[in-house]
């Protein structure tokens, strides 16, 4: 049975990973009809939502797991996967459990998580630092210190793409890595406006202020263009999620020798476990519904998980798979996971509305130096105060 799957994985590494999913699904005798929409989730999600609410849903669709699809589920537009999950014992195998939790609404499971993505990575170009004549930094603070040297060598210290979610992600990373777990949880989980306005946050904003100075002049939009600057040594480093790994890999770079990755920016080694999940709209066609179940099974299938995540650079959603072929960086990630230093991602903690407001704030903050950290913090506190 043909099943149309929409997603926004169109960069090189992503596309290669999707191919693995499709291969796995086609092997079940069904057919993956690809509905890729380029231009990140911001472009793709409205289209997906329109189609689902318009009554002409696709067979399956990517969302970040978390609260993006919550209302669709509540409106009864999404297929209940509880049966499949029980059959596949997802509760047992999927790790960390928070992934499945964010798929669960009113006790029912509505999505199949594909991967774990963590945002808290600093990617560094060894070549760039060599050129600038400084050692490859081991954490954020060293990186900041190396900034002037990079600049002198005509190298962009920090690469930061223009899309709003990148600025937001970078800032959230700073919170965890510089401010620590408690601050992060207080602000985003408890929506503690006082904490958001407090001195600890002020320090983060100061750091962000430094970051934006280092990022000035990047002049690219897409995250992978920014990553590419690091890959080619035009930029010193980039704060980006683990999916950046796919780009390095595609360019044939080797972790450790060509590039360096620092989880948690080399400071607080906490990772958030967000990621992508597939949702399955309710379809009338029985055959399609069965194919949907098959796809859900395929997604959590161990072989597919390995193949997919190796290409994508993300971590598998189940702990019981063999990742011996994983590279240096992935292994670092797995270590952190194993330590249990896992937090929920902001997509899980905050509503899309709040996320959007944060994006507006941070994309402006990083692009426009006339906004002082203090002013930005005040607006941040306001957003947290009204967040839900």
């Amino acid at each position: 049975t043909d099943l149309e799957v929409t997603h926004w994985w169109t960069s090189g590494g992503e596309a290669a990973a999707v191919k693995e999913l499709a291969k796995g699904f086609d092997a079940t005798g069904n057919k993956w009809v690809d509905g890729a929409i380029a231009g990140s989730g911001g472009t793709a999600r409205p289209i997906m939502i329109s189609r689902i609410t318009g009554g002409d849903p696709m067979g399956a669709t990517q969302f970040n797991h978390g609260r993006q699809a919550q209302e669709l589920v509540e409106a009864g537009l999404m297929r209940d996967l509880t049966a499949v999950a029980e059959k596949g014992k997802w509760k047992d195998i999927i790790k960390p459990a928070s992934l499945l939790e964010s798929c669960t609404i009113n006790g029912k499971i509505y999505c199949a998580p594909v991967n774990i993505h963590s945002w808290q990575w600093l990617w560094l170009s060894n070549e760039a630092f060599k050129k600038a004549g400084v050692d490859v930094p081991k954490n954020w603070n060293e990186f900041v210190a190396a900034g002037p040297a990079l600049q002198k060598a005509g190298i962009q210290p920090l690469a930061l793409g223009g899309q709003p979610w990148q600025a937001t992600g970078a800032f959230d990373t700073l919170i965890i890595s510089l401010g620590g777990k408690d601050l992060y949880m207080k602000v985003f989980k408890d929506k503690d406006a006082k904490a958001a306005a407090g001195p600890e946050m002020a320090a983060i904003f100061k750091a962000a202020n430094e970051a934006r100075k280092l990022a000035k002049g990047t002049n690219v939009q897409d995250w992978n263009q920014a990553t590419n600057m690091v890959v080619t040594g035009k930029a010193g480093g980039q704060i980006m999620g683990d999916w950046a790994q796919g780009e390095f890999q595609l360019a044939g770079k080797k972790a450790g020798t060509d590039y360096t990755c620092l989880p948690g920016l080399g400071l607080n080694q906490y990772l958030t476990a967000g990621g992508d999940a597939f949702y399955f709209p309710v379809l009338k066609d029985k055959a399609k519904s069965e194919a949907q179940d098959k796809l859900a099974e395929t997604i959590v299938d161990p072989k597919v998980q390995v193949a997919f995540n190796l290409k994508k650079g993300s971590l598998p959603v189940r702990g019981d798979v063999d990742l011996s072929s994983a590279n240096d960086c992935m292994k670092k990630g797995l270590e952190v996971l194993a330590k249990g230093n896992i937090l929920s991602s902001t997509d899980q903690l905050l509503s899309p509305d709040t996320q959007k407001q944060k994006e507006d704030l941070f994309s402006q903050f990083f692009a426009n130096e006339s906004i002082t950290p203090e002013a930005a913090q005040k607006r941040f506190a306001d957003i947290i105060a009204s967040a839900n």
Partner: protein, 313 residues
């Protein structure tokens, strides 16, 4: 009477009595490079360069290889002309899993374009004709609402239209998309047609009524044949508008019938490593080819039609 004179001798007679005045005779020596002409053509050429620059950049870039693009500047002509980017854009550029370039979208675009243009023009021309010649109480009110509707951003209307199409059960079908294009083409087209039909002599309409022709007979047999210029304008506007549409094409269809612009967007926005500017430019030119050809072929009629229909208030 002795004053029989041929016309030639009349002329000669005038000469005889005329005062002998010295002065230039014959053609005024006119400089081709008069100051006026230099300024006039100078301005036009400068403006033309500004308008042509992007096209030049697109064409030149689309024929360079990636290494050359990285090195050289965007205005320098290609050292080595290659059509590979064109081939790639057309047939093998990837989005997600599909690596068949724009070719997939081309026929989809045609399939969307033809019925949408036909239906929207048909509906708008009939409406314009009815508004111009068959007014009734309230017809102008509807028209005013329609015109104000022209100012509503599409994005604002998406949600209501999604709901309307869902209720009609035609969401995601070609019919639905054709209706959407018809709806959003309607204000401007109806205005054009109404103005045009109003500018035709009312007597024609009266004569036809006396001849016994009804609403449709007058429309098809009298008005339609006379409305060629404005149909050309409407056609051009709709062809460019619908061909270039991205939003409706992607929101109101399924992936297997995505128009070419969606592929273009995908090619341009899915960056695999570095941006392949040459492929992007080739894809851009390929996508723009249809409306561009329409313009080059019927540009003259376009101006005539504009003069006939758009300008009269």
């Amino acid at each position: 009477m002795a004053n029989i004179s041929t016309l030639n001798s009349t002329a000669a007679g005038f000469d005889a009595v005329s005062p002998q005045v010295a002065g230039p005779s014959g053609r005024k020596p006119r400089k081709v490079l008069s100051r006026r002409n230099i300024i006039l053509y100078g301005l036009l050429i400068v403006a033309a360069l500004y308008y042509l620059l992007p096209l030049y950049v697109m064409i030149v870039t689309s024929m360079k290889g990636m290494p050359e693009i990285r090195m050289g500047n965007i205005f320098s002509p290609p050292m080595e002309i290659t059509f590979e980017p064109w081939a790639k854009a057309w047939a093998s550029a990837c989005t997600g899993l599909n690596c068949d370039g724009l070719s997939r979208g081309f026929w989809n675009s045609v399939r969307i374009l033809v019925p949408s243009v036909l239906v929207s023009i048909a509906v708008a021309s009939v409406s314009g004709y009815a508004l111009a010649n068959w007014r009734f109480k309230g017809s102008e009110l509807f028209f005013s609402i329609l015109i104000i509707g022209a100012f509503i951003p599409y994005q604002v209307m998406i949600y209501p239209i999604v709901i309307i199409l869902r209720e009609l059960g035609i969401y995601g079908t070609l019919t639905g998309l054709v209706i959407v294009h018809t709806i959003f083409g309607m204000p401007i087209l109806t205005l054009l047609f109404r103005n045009y039909f109003t500018s035709l002599p009312e007597e024609l309409f009266k004569a036809a009524r006396i001849d016994g022709a009804g609403f449709w007979q007058i429309y098809f047999r009298i008005m339609l044949p006379m409305a060629l210029p404005i149909f050309v304008v409407a056609m051009i506007l709709q062809v460019t508008g619908i061909w270039n549409d991205f939003l409706f094409g992607v929101v109101f269809t399924r992936p297997d019938s995505y128009p070419m612009t969606v592929q273009l967007n995908n090619i341009v926005n899915s960056v695999q490593g570095v941006k392949e500017y040459n492929v992007n430019m080739a894809a851009t030119l390929l996508t723009g080819a249809v409306p561009l050809i329409v313009y080059f072929v019927s540009g003259r009629l376009f101006v005539r039609g504009i003069a006939a229909g758009a300008v009269k208030g």
